[in-house]
């Protein structure tokens, strides 16, 4: 089989850092080829070189045996390669139709809006995207936006498409639908490069996999018959065992409870009791209300009715400081948004909730803060230059560890963790899940909300939500299939 896309001996430097060091990839025609590697392995740089957004310092890119077009010739690039970027390239204030034909609304001088809309409708129909061409793109959901991006990417006639972490923001059923679509494209002969942190997805949808580590190409292998640990070892450079969940027995004391919680349009009549020494998972699709429920428990949202109790005492609804005082620690859904202040140092971010203990009369002792921070950095194995480095400079996994450090700073009795492993690599993932289990072993009770089935394996039981209600309480030992069926509302 001949190679549809080939990048050879690519070197790319950004100032002192080498993002790619003689790396390359060869993708056979018609295959779905995975590119995996830990954060900083050089995946994104390769994407920008393969899409013609950046010029490699050395090496060459070939499409179907021909040399790549000149960097300035955007149209030529787009006829060869389409890309659905990690960051959305949809412009929310414009209509779907205009987004599809951005900067090519017309071939003549004047834009004919009616014709543009009908061209858009045709395009959406071709790729079976059920979206109104006249709707504002900003009103679409994440999944629909992504479908619009895929349709746009393919509309240039490219037979090669790069999907850069397309599942990062999708829930289970939406991921399944994306995969169905990808399989259909493959049957039509489209070649794909697929980037993801989720190795199970690689096994599900790809035929071969290339591993990058520290800016270099490590291996390229067929997916079939490739053992899971071997792939992880190739990524991390060392043999890593799969995460082992630990056995434990829950205590009797209820540390976090909810009764008859209702928030219109999100969830209804939720009762919950989390005991000391127990991890309770919350699973469900994006519309299940699981995140809203968790956010209500920590006070980020206010329920219409019902009460939340922490260690037996009811807390004032919608009041985060009150919840923290009552002994709660939490990791918010979006760390960039609610998790940390990027310009402040690791030490300052991690000790925010315990600042009152670090000095008297409202002062904060720098020395004591430093000491606390150093301890946390050691505990959680945060890769940083030291407590004074701004969190904004850390990689995703390490920044998330800082958020964890902050959540655990006050030795909380109850811990609420929302999507803790989003966008972090394999090793960081294990460290973060380990941190949750450590806290629980020290006697805390935890609620873990996650879109990742793997995360939920550490839970002693998983509450599955569907359209705002808890529909099932699943004890440990479930299979993926079982849980997904309940999440999608297919009750057996």
């Amino acid at each position: 089989m001949k190679n549809h896309v080939e990048a050879r001996n690519i070197v790319k430097r950004f100032g002192p850092t080498t993002a790619l060091d003689g790396a390359g990839i060869a993708i056979a025609e018609g295959e779905t080829h995975a590119l995996v590697g830990r954060n900083g392995a050089g995946k994104s740089t390769l994407v920008s070189i393969l899409t013609g957004l950046q010029r490699p310092d050395e090496g060459e890119v070939r499409f179907a045996g021909e040399a790549a077009p000149a960097l300035g010739d955007r149209d030529a690039w787009r006829r060869r390669v389409a890309c659905v970027y990690q960051k959305s390239t949809i412009i929310p204030a414009l209509t779907v139709a205009e987004n599809l034909f951005l900067n090519r609304q017309t071939t003549g001088r004047l834009i004919n809006w009616r014709a543009l809309r009908s061209r858009a409708r045709e395009l959406l129909e071709t790729y079976e995207v059920d979206v109104d061409a006249a709707a504002l793109a900003g009103d679409l959901g994440v999944e629909q936006r992504q479908l619009v991006e895929i349709a746009r990417a393919l509309s240039f006639g490219a037979r090669f498409i790069i999907l850069d972490e397309p599942t990062a923001r999708l829930d289970g059923p939406a991921i399944e639908r994306l995969f169905t679509r990808m399989r259909a494209l493959r049957e039509q002969g489209v070649t794909m490069m697929y980037i993801s942190h989720h190795l199970d997805e690689v096994y599900e949808i790809c035929q071969s996999v290339t591993v990058f580590r520290d800016a270099r190409h490590v291996t390229t292998r067929p997916v079939e018959g490739l053992p899971h640990d071997e792939l992880v070892a190739a990524m991390t450079g060392e043999a890593t065992a799969a995460y082992e969940t630990r056995p434990r027995t829950a205590g009797e004391r209820v540390v976090l409870g909810a009764s008859a919680l209702t928030l219109a349009g999100r969830y209804r009549e939720i009762d919950l009791s989390v005991r000391s020494g127990e991890v309770v998972g919350l699973a469900g699709s994006a519309s299940s209300g699981k995140v809203s429920l968790a956010e209500t428990l920590v006070g980020l949202r206010r329920a219409d009715s019902g009460t939340v109790t922490i260690q037996g005492t009811p807390v004032k609804p919608g009041d985060v400081p009150a919840a923290l005082r009552a002994g709660l620690g939490f990791v918010p859904e979006d760390r960039h948004h609610e998790g940390f202040v990027p310009l402040l140092s690791v030490g300052e971010n991690a000790t925010l909730p315990i600042a009152h203990r670090l000095g008297r009369f409202g002062t904060v002792s720098a020395a004591r803060r430093r000491a606390e921070a150093v301890r946390m950095i050691e505990d959680l194995d945060i890769k940083t230059e030291g407590p004074d480095q701004p969190v904004g400079d850390l990689s995703g996994g390490n920044a998330q560890k800082v958020v964890f450090a902050r959540a655990l700073a006050d030795d909380p009795a109850a811990l609420v963790v929302i999507n803790p492993t989003a966008g972090v690599d394999v090793k960081a993932k294990q460290a973060l899940l380990g941190a949750v289990e450590d806290a629980v072993e020290r006697g805390a009770g935890a609620v873990l909300v996650s879109d990742e089935l793997d995360d939920l394996r550490i839970c002693d039981r998983v509450l599955v939500m569907f359209h705002g209600r808890v529909v099932k309480d699943v004890p440990r030992g479930w299979t993926d299939h079982e849980l997904v069926a309940v999440m999608e509302g297919i009750q057996e």
Partner: protein, 329 residues
């Protein structure tokens, strides 16, 4: 399918958001007619339009820049500085000139050129040098005004060449030429932003500049063009104002920028970029012009009028907050 049914009514609302001020204008006209008999006469309304012609060009320029996601405070200083420098290049030393005495017919082209150069310089600092648009143009607001005060030593220029007075004072088909000019430019702006690729690219850049770049739009070039166009429009506003007043005072244009932002923002142009239309900005200018006129006719002291203008801005913001439903940063 739920998403489909949900998005349609919102889209319709969004269409009308440009025109939310139309009922306000109608209301102002009706209220004005009752409050003062001279208000709803052709003469008075022409007067309102002529007074707003110059500032409306600034609103047009600012709307384009805001839609592209940038910012320009220095426009108001160009209104006085560009015509002043152009005139000084033309008139003799006795009239306050530099003594170069270029031909009088060149005064308008020179003026526009000065405006374009200032816009280009802003663009250079903001796009090529990647400085904050707010701070750059704040500094340029001060510098450009200083470049008028320095050479003129703060004096008013009275002896002006005929050619610069013409546009601001002539009548075309019974209406002041400045109204025609502003009207035509707004029409061009509305059509340009609605029906031309380059116009649409402003929305793309203001909405998500990375996406615009990925779509093959030459983001830097377009933005630079917008700044140059903005400077040129501000210089043209200076020409119209000069013709209307017959002299260039040292504070021509000073303080306009607040009104310009007010008009653009109450007209639905977003300060975050990517949203709003030129038509909306035009309705914003008209509302402010009509209110100004009414206050003057009713004899409200000029010292109290700022309170009313500030109030209008706040009320308009509240209305768009309630209508748009989203929190504003």
């Amino acid at each position: 399918m739920t998403a489909l049914t949900a998005s349609t009514p919102r889209l319709r609302l969004a269409r009308f958001r440009d025109l939310t001020l139309v009922p306000v204008i109608v209301l102002l006209l009706i209220a004005g007619a009752f409050l003062d008999p001279t208000f709803l006469t052709a003469g008075n309304l022409t007067n309102v339009l002529q007074q707003q012609a110059a500032i409306s060009l600034l609103v047009l320029a600012e709307a384009l820049i805001l839609i592209s996601g940038k910012f320009d405070l220095s426009l108001e200083s160009i209104v006085g500085m560009a015509p002043a420098i152009a005139v000084m290049l033309v008139v003799p030393v006795s009239a306050g000139g530099f003594g170069i005495e270029l031909p009088g017919l060149l005064v308008i082209p020179l003026c526009l050129l000065v405006g374009a150069l200032i816009g280009a310089f802003n663009g250079f600092l903001i796009i090529k040098f990647q400085l904050s648009a707010f701070i750059v143009t704040l500094a340029m607001l001060i510098i450009v005004h200083g470049l008028q005060l320095g050479p003129t030593e703060g004096k008013t220029l009275f002896e002006l060449p005929e050619s610069i007075l013409y546009l601001g004072s002539a009548l075309w088909l019974g209406l002041p030429a400045s109204i025609w000019i502003a009207g035509l430019l707004f029409a061009a702006g509305i059509a340009g932003l609605a029906y031309f690729r380059v116009g649409r690219s402003l929305y793309a850049i203001g909405g998500n500049s990375d996406a615009a770049r990925a779509a093959g739009i030459r983001v830097d070039r377009v933005l630079w063009g917008v700044f140059i166009l903005g400077g040129t429009l501000a210089a043209l506003a200076g020409v119209l104002e000069t013709g209307r007043l017959g002299a260039i005072g040292s504070n021509q244009g000073v303080g306009w920028i607040f009104m310009v932002f007010a008009a653009a923002v109450i007209g639905g142009v977003s300060m975050d970029g990517g949203k709003g239309t030129v038509l909306g900005a035009l309705t914003g200018v008209l509302v402010i012009g009509l209110v100004q006129n009414l206050l003057t006719l009713k004899g409200v002291s000029g010292f109290w009028q700022p309170v009313v203008y500030g109030g209008i801005i706040l009320i308009a913001l509240m209305i768009s907050r309630v209508a748009g439903g989203k929190a504003q940063d």
